[in-house]
């Protein structure tokens, strides 16, 4: 396979790499940018563990070629909070026990951020619909919904920037 050059911004940092044309955005994030917080759960666009925000839209990064994201601005879980200073959405997941094994968590955090960034006040049903492209096998979704609900009330995207 012939490599192609792909560049994009991930969490505000420029990333450039020569990659196989088959390379998915997910692989670019994990292998080229060395950001392993974004997970591969199914590689077929069904589980949502690889959800990132690409130019303001939540996308499943296993469903998109790296080449398609050339020139885009991508946000991943590493762009949220830090160990010392969690992002309010991460804080809400921590407080509400919104994660167990943690493998699906990055995807849920990003889809939640994308939902909350829209500035609506989602109720539990809205939240369930927003996250229904993401699978969690541990929690039964209850505490994830509760965490996102609280985050939506406490975290104002504009103020947090």
């Amino acid at each position: 396979m012939k490599p192609i050059q792909v560049s994009m911004t991930i969490n505000g940092q420029a990333q450039r790499a020569d990659v196989d044309t088959r390379t998915l955005l997910l692989d670019f994030i994990r292998d080229a940018a060395k950001l392993t917080g974004t997970k591969r759960g199914c590689n077929e666009g069904k589980c949502g563990a690889c959800t990132v925000i690409c130019d303001g839209l939540a996308v499943k990064s296993c469903n998109m070629l790296a080449a398609t994201a050339d020139g885009c601005s991508v946000e991943t879980v590493e762009g949220l909070g830090t160990l010392k200073q969690l992002h309010p959405i991460q804080e809400a997941f921590h407080k509400h026990h919104g994660l167990q094994c943690g493998f699906c968590t990055a995807g849920f955090l990003m889809i939640a951020k994308n939902l909350i960034d829209q500035g609506l006040s989602p109720d539990h049903d809205d939240i369930r619909h927003a996250i229904h492209g993401n699978i969690c096998r541990c929690t039964g979704y209850q505490k994830i919904v509760e965490a996102i609900s609280e985050a939506a009330q406490t975290y104002l995207p504009a103020a947090a920037e």
């Binding site: 759960g41 921590h94 493998f103 369930r128 993401n134 505490k143």
Partner: protein, 782 residues
């Protein structure tokens, strides 16, 4: 003191939340190769030849192996069968026994190259007729899955094992019964589907002969022992480490072929080798819930007392034994609880077929039996003109009767299951779910008493170990044999350590998942909270008594005058005479002369083990395979759309007894997760095979896992806990108890909603719609 019972936020969370978890796929080693496994596209075939030459010729390929490389390896898989040889091996006997069985493997410089190389392997198959239906597999003349075991005289046919469980006199019960209900129940074949698929990295050091393996495993010591045996290398030179594990639920227990294959490829190349299974391999080739056909019969008197329980159970084991036999026997012994049934006869048959193998899956056989049990209770209630909960009440074991030995030898030490039942019934009434019955709406109940540790029927051991060691700064390291996969065990165990030892919670550091740590069986079968918990109680107790002894000697008081809290030992009564753990460790390690006479100077470092006082089945199948039993009762409220057959879950109530809840919010999360998984099994999930044994849904596009929009609000969790009298903290398990009841609770609610009894899971909209249409055509209720 006082950490137990508090909602301490999980110490596991922070790194997972910021994307700093370290799963197998996140680990990198210099020179690491990536391997792929060639898997069988057919259900049953003899492999006449495997040609690796084209694969090996592909640039970037480092090694390839097939059965020619594995013939000298020892077979494995006899741990649960007790046979002289196992029924499994890598590329066993040049035969494939199910779609997904391993044929060959390639290691290459990257994943793409490995995938390309696997495509280049040429295989000559001699296809054999497949045996897919377990009842047909039992018939004379059926194709034999393990002909080599039959030839060796180890098994007579595909029926790999039979066992009869009996108590009382079933014939007399049948003669006395006023009402008998029976049905053929089918329990389907879902797969655990943890979000992280199986993965492994093997690193062979030829110079030292050491093999280090990182694996997404719930049981590092079982993998370590298995690898040492299969590869014929000393166990002392094999180390297995489980890093962060992205869910398990049973499917990551025990030795798997990919672990051996990674080790072999590392041995062949001298380089680290990683294998990450993809989702289709996770579905096709790891183990699944043991599918069962249960012909179940319940006999009752006119007052609703259950007189007898008779079953013929055929387990569709699939291609290899794994833990299927244990699932079948334990699930049958425990699954008939919580009802007191004196007369029992259960004939079990475990049958090989050409499918993905049955193995451990959350709650280990109890859901299968529970589905039949409480479906029949509901059916009996219809016949007797009473409610299902009346029959449940009439027969449920009550705490005031405990300790009580039940008819198959199950010892109920204490229980809150009776309270659980009362709680869900009263909650249903309080919420008015049955007040104004709406068409196509229904409420169903189910109960369970489930094991809180699992002594496998053929295993003579059931232990875990904990090492507690204090450092000179007073910090407390706790090494355990636990291998958690998301249960928050390190938080929970830390709370137990802090209370038992008197240490401050922040100073306790708990680890596990490393075979070079303390020995034990790992985290499965709901056993960590009880078995590891009891080992921890012992280890901390011993460390605490040494601390107290030293402190009493140095402070010149009697031990009874001391109190220990937050890592400080002080003299009771407001005195300022005290010693910190750091000071005490300093005295023990560096000032031996200050120690009490006879006490050896040295670290405070205690290793304790705990083996459960449980039993293996006797000839009648009587056993008490678990430390204690956690109980639950659930109520499900749903509606059915008669035009589409779609089920909408309107509400769900859980009442649970997990003994002393160490961390209630974690316990609640476990119940919710267990229920959601079960709702998936009863309504949506399961591997589907066609008549040729071809797997029809090996992708999440075809295999449906419930989403947030399918699962109802699960916030109604009621704690009806009664402390266990057999565990040292009074604890029982929480992770699996929520899994069995949804099966029958949903089926019972569906009968209330439609008047139709569904006995085959998953109960999908097409089945419901067909049943509704069939009744319409027959002139029934429309």
């Amino acid at each position: 003191m006082g950490y137990i019972g508090r909602n301490i936020a999980r110490r596991e969370d922070r790194r997972l939340l910021v994307g700093r978890g370290r799963f197998i796929a996140d680990m990198q080693f210099a020179g690491m190769l990536h391997a792929r496994i060639l898997r069988s596209p057919v259900a049953h075939a003899r492999i006449k030849s495997v040609d690796l030459s084209a694969a090996l010729a592909l640039p970037g390929v480092a090694a390839a192996i097939s059965s020619a490389d594995t013939r000298s390896l020892r077979r494995y898989g006899s741990r649960h069968t007790g046979w002289p040889v196992g029924d499994n091996a890598v590329f066993l006997e040049d035969k494939v026994r199910f779609v997904g069985d391993e044929i060959a493997a390639v290691a290459a410089i990257d994943e793409f190259t490995a995938r390309d190389a696997v495509e280049l392997i040429e295989v000559d198959y001699e296809e054999l007729p497949a045996v897919v239906d377990p009842e047909k597999a039992m018939a004379d003349g059926a194709p034999i899955v393990h002909d080599e075991l039959v030839r060796a005289g180890i098994i007579p046919s595909n029926v790999m094992a039979t066992k009869t469980l009996r108590a009382g006199n079933i014939e007399a019960a049948a003669a006395r019964a006023d009402v008998t209900v029976s049905a053929r129940f089918y329990c389907n074949r879902p797969v655990c589907n943890p979000l992280e698929t199986h993965g492994v990295i093997a690193l062979w050091d030829e110079a030292t002969g050491e093999l280090t393996v990182w694996s997404a495993s719930q049981a590092v010591n079982l993998v370590r022992n298995g690898l040492a045996e299969v590869l014929d290398i000393p166990a002392s030179k094999v180390r297995v480490i489980a890093p962060d594990i992205g869910g398990g639920f049973g499917v990551k227990v025990g030795l798997f072929a990919h672990e051996i294959i990674a080790a072999l490829l590392s041995m062949k190349t001298g380089r680290p080798v990683r294998i990450l299974l993809d989702r289709s391999e996770e579905l096709s080739s790891c183990t699944s819930r043991c599918a069962q056909i249960r012909y179940s019969e319940m006999m009752l008197d006119r007052d609703g007392k259950i007189l007898g329980w008779r079953e013929r159970v055929v387990q569709d084991q699939g291609a290899y034994a794994y833990s299927g036999l244990s699932v079948l026997q334990m699930g049958s012994i425990i699954g008939i609880l919580p009802y007191k049934i004196d007369n029992v006869l259960i004939d079990t048959f475990c049958v090989y077929t050409n499918k993905n193998s049955g193995g451990a899956y959350r709650a280990y056989g109890v859901p299968q039996t529970s589905f039949a049990r409480d479906s029949l209770v509901h059916m009996a209630a219809k016949k007797l003109g009473c409610s299902a909960e009346d029959i449940m009440r009439r027969n449920i074991v009550r705490n005031e009767e405990c300790p009580k030995t039940m008819s198959l030898g199950q010892i109920i030490d204490s229980t809150g299951v009776d309270q659980c039942l009362e709680k869900v019934v009263s909650e249903v009434d309080r919420l008015g779910w049955r007040k104004d019955p709406q068409p196509y709406h229904g409420v169903g109940f189910s109960t369970v008493l489930k094991h809180s540790s699992a002594r496998h029927p053929r295993m003579d051991y059931d232990h875990d170990s904990v090492r507690v060691c204090l450092s000179s700064d007073g910090s407390i390291s706790v090494e355990t044999s636990a291998c958690p996969q998301g249960q928050g065990m390190f938080t929970t165990l830390a709370q137990m350590v802090a209370d038992r030892l008197g240490g401050s919670l922040d100073s306790v550091h708990v680890t596990g998942g490393d075979s070079s740590g303390p020995r034990g069986l790992g985290t499965w079968g709901a056993r960590t909270i009880t078995i590891t918990g009891n080992a921890l109680h012992r280890a901390c107790g011993e460390a605490r008594s040494k601390i107290a002894k030293v402190a009493a000697h140095v402070l010149e008081v009697d031990e009874s005058e001391l109190e220990i809290a937050d890592s400080i030992v002080s003299v009771k009564g407001g005195s300022n005479r005290q010693l910190s753990f750091a000071e005490i460790v300093g005295i023990c390690e560096r000032h031996g002369k200050r120690l009490p006479k006879g006490m050896e100077p040295g670290p405070i470092d205690v290793l304790s083990s705990y083996d459960s006082p449980t039993s293996n089945p006797n000839e009648d199948g009587h056993a008490n395979p678990t430390m204690t039993y956690s109980g639950a009762a659930h109520a499900c409220y749903l509606k059915v759309d008669p035009e589409t057959g779609k089920v909408t879950l309107l509400g769900y109530i859980m009442a649970e007894d997990c003994g002393v809840a160490i961390n209630p919010v974690i316990v609640e999360g476990q119940h919710q997760g267990a229920v959601a998984m079960a709702l998936g099994q009863v309504l949506y999930e399961g591997l589907e095979y066609d008549e040729a044994g071809q797997l029809l849904n090996s992708s999440l596009r075809d295999y449906y896992v419930p989403l947030a929009t399918d699962i109802p609000d699960l916030s109604m969790v009621h704690d009806c806990s009664v402390p266990s009298t057999r565990t040292l903290f009074g604890q029982r398990s929480a992770g699996e108890t929520g899994n069995p009841p949804p099966m029958a609770a949903v089926a019972n609610a569906l009968e209330e909603a439609t008047g139709i009894r569904f006995t085959e899971m998953p109960i999908t909209p097409d089945k419901i719609l067909l049943a509704l249409r069939a009744r319409e055509n027959a002139g029934g209720r429309s």
